[in-house]
């Protein structure tokens, strides 16, 4: 350790102040933990309801125009030990979660689709957990029946564990599920629909080429020289003090520097609006939070 490091360590050490620990602190934390687990369960129920609601809507629209039946809209094989088979996916899929999505005009079959999230399994090995290196998306277009060939993306950055918040990134016009933070954890999950005509940031996060395989950059990571994220930030609101904004960002690595674009979206009732766009450069490791396990204050699962 250099002299300066020693000096700084010494100076920082002198900055410590005595802090008596409340003897009741352990009991307080224990209560907090119990409350948090209850809240987590409630939040999970909210997620299932939200996805189920989207699926039910898709089902109704599909029923109106054609005889096509949507597939199951929200399911999970979390306890799977053997990979499942998903049409068009050339390997076993483990811990599958799926959701339907809707984009475009109502009543058109093209407006419906399904997205699957799963871990890539092996025919000869137990199912792995969904994690970086083996997490994949399969995106089906043109209806909720899995007739079309899926576009498969992956592996995606899933270090902190992955969850589907409906499908916030596809074509930029879908309902966005947001976990709202009330200060000590996940309070509720709500769906927001993005205005198609408002400078759509979500298309920036997920460029889905027609039949192509451009990386799907979801709301918790990125691939190679592209990263993206979505996180809640709390800002001062002149009228009522505190407000939440969504920080939807993406960054591209050029010349050793991350070029960062952040779109700050104001949450206003059931709508979100673009507040402002900020562009900056950032060194590696200095990018904003990317959602994932701490998305809007929720307690994620690995």
């Amino acid at each position: 350790m250099s002299k300066l490091d020693e000096e700084l360590t010494g100076r920082f050490g002198k900055a410590e102040r005595p802090l008596p620990v409340d003897p009741e602190l352990f009991a307080g934390l224990l209560k907090k933990r119990v409350r948090r687990e209850r809240m987590k369960r409630a939040s999970t129920v909210g997620l299932v309801l939200a996805i189920g609601l989207g699926g039910a809507t898709a089902y109704l629209f599909a029923e109106r125009g054609t005889t096509v039946r949507p597939a199951s809209t929200a399911s999970s094989s979390a306890g799977a030990t053997v990979g499942a088979s998903i049409p068009g996916v050339p390997f076993p899929a483990c811990h599958v979660t799926n959701a339907t999505y809707f984009v475009g005009s109502l009543g058109h079959q093209d407006g419906f689709g399904a997205v699957y999230l799963f871990a890539r399994g092996s025919p000869s090995a137990p199912c792995p957990e969904v994690a970086s290196g083996n997490a994949y998306f399969a995106l089906y277009r043109g209806g909720v029946q899995l007739k079309s060939e899926p576009t498969i993306f992956g592996p995606i950055d899933c270090t902190q564990g992955c969850r589907i918040f409906t499908t916030p990134d596809i074509d930029g016009r879908v309902a966005l599920a947001v976990v709202v933070d009330h200060g000590i954890g996940a309070d509720s999950m709500e769906l927001y629909r993005i205005h198609p005509e408002a400078d759509p940031p979500f298309t920036q996060m997920s460029v889905v080429g027609q039949g192509g395989s451009s990386p799907l950059i979801f709301d918790w990571g990125g691939i190679g020289a592209s990263r993206a994220g979505a996180s809640c930030v709390t800002v001062r609101n002149p009228s009522n003090g505190i407000a939440h904004q969504l920080d939807i960002w993406h960054a591209v690595l050029r010349g050793g520097t991350w070029h960062l674009v952040e779109r700050f979206m104001t949450i206003d009732g059931d709508q979100v609006h673009l507040d402002h766009v900020a562009r900056s450069s950032a060194a590696d490791g200095f990018l904003p939070d990317g959602g994932g396990s701490a998305f809007c204050g929720s307690i994620g699962s690995r």
Binding site: L8, F12, K14, R17, R236
Partner: protein, 168 residues
């Protein structure tokens, strides 16, 4: 898995120091206390689910520092802590000159440099441990630390001569 004994030991041995570390980063003791408690609860829950947390103090430190980024949380924490600390207000004059100097010096740094400096110099983690805790490359930590230490040396009026290398 984190059992009750481990948590109690953590509260006894590590908690005060971690609260101090987060307070150095934020300049605010009540919100630091709240953030460390929140981080510890998260660690506890994760452990219950079977996650392995290799270094509880490092994990809690980084998560608590991230938690303090939420202005809302800070405001709520301050509100809750106001009554709690009312009686202790008189002890605020215990703020040492050293601490004020360090807090002011840290306040002049970008947040990530502040975070790395606190982990390195207050919690005495080496650069590898800091990198692991933050989930970044060690080179990134060294780069930030180099800038931070240069700035801190100026703020704290420490002679930086003979200093070249940044290492654990």
């Amino acid at each position: 898995m984190l059992d009750d004994t481990t948590i109690r030991e953590f509260l006894r041995d590590d908690y005060p120091r971690l609260v101090n570390a987060v307070a150095l980063l934020t300049g605010d003791l009540p919100s630091a206390e709240d953030a460390v408690q929140e981080a510890l609860v998260r660690a506890w829950i994760r452990s219950d689910r079977g996650d392995v947390i290799e270094s509880l103090p490092a994990w809690v430190a980084v998560v608590a520092m991230n938690i303090t980024r939420s202005e809302w949380r800070r405001v709520m924490a301050e509100r809750r802590a106001r009554a709690r600390l009312a009686s202790a207000a008189a002890s605020d004059d215990l703020r040492s000159v050293d601490r004020v100097d360090v807090e002011r010096a840290l306040a002049g740094l970008p947040r990530r440099q502040r975070q790395i400096a606190v982990l390195r110099y207050f919690l005495r983690m080496d650069t590898r441990e800091v990198a692991d805790a933050l989930g970044v490359r060690e080179g990134t930590v060294k780069n930030s630390l180099s800038k931070a230490r240069a700035a801190l040396a100026v703020y704290l009026q420490i002679d930086e001569q003979e200093e070249n290398d940044v290492e654990a």
